[in-house]
């Protein structure tokens, strides 16, 4: 299978992240799965005229296309023209190119939260009128209509994340190559379920603090960040703490909150990214699938039951009270 990769209005960080794939590296991974890069803006040798000829051949149907990957949001501004992002050398907007090329592809993959839902590029006043390839925030219908399906009969596959984990992208591509990427493999926002059926909370090393609502009050403290510091790992989809990033990393492991970057409209939480909105002192957001009354009851009970070790460590920047060791039997 071949892959054409376009970088639309984003930061390029999903490609940069992709290059961090390991065991094996991204080039070996793609080779091994029979995936050939037709053109990629950061990696291929061709520049200028040969690229224009390639794009024209794909558009005309002369060059078959298996997978179109789009990274970055699609700009519709100013005034619906898309001219805030002209694909250089072509005199045409990226909006126009994506609409022209997507119907030619067997699969269309939106890489990153800009490409999937608009992402940070659509934050604030959204000056460039950015949308995702097939979503405008949480609403179906972006640069492509809500009903769009690629030649293989699927909607745009939304590999959301800001940035995407390299494995989310490579494994999506490997699943496509293996013929395993079917409609039921995608969740309600068209994200691959292999990572979107997990929550960032899963395997978070702060889980013991969470169990007791033993909370950090300032960034750099090691307690749970849900109550005060805006962490939405109990609601955000992603296997970040299961597979980890760049070796053994994740946002919560590094001491800052999960900001739900795999979700539509994460860029506008309605409050500071590192602060928890509260009503009458109680956090507004609830863990996914948790009934509110039970959450309140369990939280107050567990908070009252917090062991000293966990309470002290929660507001420290490192473990100061270690677990008590069981005394040897006499």
């Amino acid at each position: 299978m071949n892959i054409l990769w376009l970088q639309s209005a984003g930061c390029g960080g999903c490609t940069m992240s992709l290059l961090c794939a390991e065991s094996p590296g991204v080039m070996d991974l793609l080779d091994g799965a029979g995936l050939r890069i037709l053109w990629h803006p950061s990696l291929s040798v061709e520049t200028g005229a040969p690229v224009r000829r390639l794009l024209e051949a794909v558009e005309a149907g002369e060059q078959p296309l298996d997978i179109l990957c789009v990274e970055g949001s699609i700009l519709r501004g100013p005034n619906g023209t898309g001219r805030y992002h002209m694909l250089s050398g072509t005199g045409r907007s990226m909006l126009d190119w994506v609409r022209a090329l997507a119907p030619r592809a067997a699969h269309v993959v939106a890489v990153g939260t800009c490409a999937t839902y608009g992402g940070v590029t659509s934050a604030g006043e959204n000056p460039a009128d950015a949308v995702g390839v097939q979503y405008d925030g949480a609403h179906p219908g972006g640069a492509l209509p809500a009903g769009f399906t690629s030649r293989a009969g699927l909607p745009v596959i939304n590999v959301a994340g800001c940035p995407t984990h390299p494995d989310w992208v490579t494994e999506t591509l490997l699943l496509i190559a293996a013929g395993e990427m079917r409609a039921e493999a995608l969740d309600g926002f068209a994200r691959p379920r292999f990572y979107a059926d997990h929550l960032v909370h899963h395997a978070c090393p702060r889980n013991e603090f969470y169990e007791y609502k033993a909370s950090a009050t300032e960034l750099s403290q090691i307690g749970c960040m849900m109550e005060h510091l805006g962490c939405v790992g109990t609601q955000a989809v992603g296997d970040c703490n299961i597979r980890t990033w760049n070796g053994e990393g994740s946002c919560t492991r590094a001491g800052y909150p999960c900001i739900n970057c795999t979700a539509p409209e994460f860029e506008e939480p309605g409050h500071g990214f590192a602060e928890t909105p509260k009503f009458a002192g109680i956090p507004v957001g609830l863990p996914s699938d948790m009934p509110k009354a039970w959450f309140m009851a369990l939280a107050s009970l567990s908070k009252a039951a917090t062991p000293r070790r966990i309470g002290v460590n929660a507001t420290a920047d490192r473990i100061t009270v270690p677990p008590t060791l069981r005394k040897p039997r006499p």
Binding site: M27, S44, G48, G124
Partner: protein, 476 residues
């Protein structure tokens, strides 16, 4: 008079979108126009936000200079509060930033710049077979080894910053994770692994030996590793003479920490190192699709000209220092820092100089990162409480891999009332200013040879890529 006009784009193996228009006369570029064809409007997105939101939003300007943006935002916010980060926190921020810059230089050399020498157009050159083996796009053995080494190096950011790009670990008061003694030895192991790559593949010798080169003559004699291969290519193709810059270099100073910067702040011109006054910066809008007047970034605005008026040709503003174009990047940093090879390369000033200065900086940054690691004091505090004011203004000036990056912000009533960003490639790839003076890359392209059958001239590609442009940062 120009014989023909060429439009070069999509221009790949640069970060982001770039279009270059060339007037060609007598087989040479007679005029060049650099267009940054993407406007996202981050400076407008930030307006009205809580100040600390800049720490989440600005790194996402750029997926390759993400930590640079993060560091600049944290410094600017701290400056608004009139405070500084905890000293040990600043050291970790510098370490994270240095890792990104080091990785970016490697990405540039192996993935962006060198693959052009594996092109069939160069078949028959004495070095071509080696270039094909090492640097063929997506395939070369050197390129693949570098990609793996880079992924390993980024484990340091995974450990201390959670992920790369787009960490939120760097804060105005310090960093969000206090490294332990165990973290410290793990970082040491990652740095040693990277050093092994550099010495086995890139330099073919200890990094100290490359860092000790004291001039162009010593550099000419360097034969080891992929650096040696590049130097022999550069000699054969006379890359030293290709793409001269404006001869004025500028650095904001890299890695501010408790002991000052690692690489100094200042300017370089005609062999002399001088001071830099950020108050002399102004962004000219005469040839940008922007409305308003030229202004210092403290007073600047971002009002896109949706009509895309004729006469303007880029979304990029044109920053000038005291009215003059400046080149920024590793070449500037190494010259301004007074390194003897850096100064010699600055005097040379072309494609070879930019790439060799990056190689020099790779060697020196590896050494600097090892020292930063050794200085980590796990018992220290890495964050200090720092309250942002309801009113205030401040600037964060740092060095991204590609050069001087500045954030200027103003807080009013607890919200961002102004946020202006001038990125390295904004300087290097700026359009003409009101006096008609072309930006640095536009000037560097004049005189580049263009073959009669070329529609995407190789010389132009070498020159443009030698600057390592980051177009997503440029306009933001």
């Amino acid at each position: 008079m120009s014989d023909r006009t060429l439009l070069v784009g999509p221009f790949n193996r640069v970060e982001g979108d770039l279009e270059i228009r060339l007037d060609v006369a007598d087989g040479r570029v007679s005029a060049a126009y650099a267009n940054s064809p993407l406007f996202r409007g981050f400076e407008r997105i930030l307006l009205g936000k809580q100040p600390q939101d800049a720490l989440t939003i600005t790194p996402r300007i750029c997926g390759i200079c993400s930590i640079s943006q993060s560091a600049a935002a944290a410094l600017a916010l701290a400056a608004c509060a009139g405070e500084q980060a905890a000293p040990e926190g600043a050291r970790i921020a510098a370490l994270l930033h240095g890792v990104e810059n080091l990785a970016d230089h490697l990405t540039h050399f192996y993935l962006f710049f060198m693959p052009d020498f594996a092109r069939p157009e160069y078949a028959g050159r004495a070095w071509h077979d080696r270039a094909v083996a090492r640097f063929t796009a997506l395939q070369g053995s050197g390129l693949r080894a570098a990609t793996e080494a880079r992924a390993g190096l980024f484990h340091i950011v995974g450990l201390l910053g959670g992920k790369w790009p787009h960490t939120l670990a760097i804060q105005p008061g310090g960093v969000t994770r206090a490294p332990t003694a165990r973290d410290k030895v793990r970082i040491g192991a990652d740095l040693r692994a990277f050093r092994r790559f550099l010495e086995a593949e890139l330099f073919g010798a200890p990094v100290e030996d490359f860092a000790a080169l004291d001039g162009a003559g010593a550099l000419d004699r360097w034969a080891g590793g992929d650096a040696g291969l590049f130097l022999s290519i550069a000699e054969d193709l006379d890359l030293a003479a290709l793409g001269p810059g404006p001869g004025r270099l500028m650095s904001f100073g890299a890695y501010p920490g408790p002991e000052g910067t690692v690489f100094a702040r200042g300017t370089w011109e005609a062999g002399r190192i001088g001071p830099l006054d950020p108050g002399d910066i102004a962004e000219d809008l005469s040839h940008a699709w922007m409305l308003g007047e030229a202004a210092h970034p403290e007073a600047g605005q971002t009002l896109p000209d949706a009509a895309m008026r004729a006469g303007a040709y880029s979304w990029c503003k044109a920053p000038r220092l005291a009215g003059r174009t400046m080149e920024t990047g590793a070449l500037a940093r190494q010259a301004v820092d007074g390194h003897p090879l850096g100064r010699a390369l600055a005097a040379e000033g072309g494609v070879r100089a930019r790439v060799a200065a990056r190689l020099l900086e790779i060697a020196r940054t590896q050494i600097a990162l090892e020292a930063m690691k050794a200085a980590i004091a796990p018992e220290a505090a890495f964050m200090r409480p720092l309250a942002l004011p309801r009113q205030g203004a401040g600037a964060g000036l740092v060095e991204a891999a590609r050069g001087a990056l500045g954030h200027w912000c103003r807080i009013e009533d607890g919200r961002l009332a102004s946020y202006q960003i001038v990125a390295p490639t904004t300087w290097n790839f700026s359009p003409r200013d009101a006096s008609g003076t072309p930006g640095p890359v536009e000037a560097a392209l004049v005189g580049a040879p263009v073959g009669p059958d070329e529609d995407t001239p190789l010389s132009v590609q070498h020159i443009v890529r030698s600057f390592d442009p980051c177009m997503v940062c440029t306009v933001h």
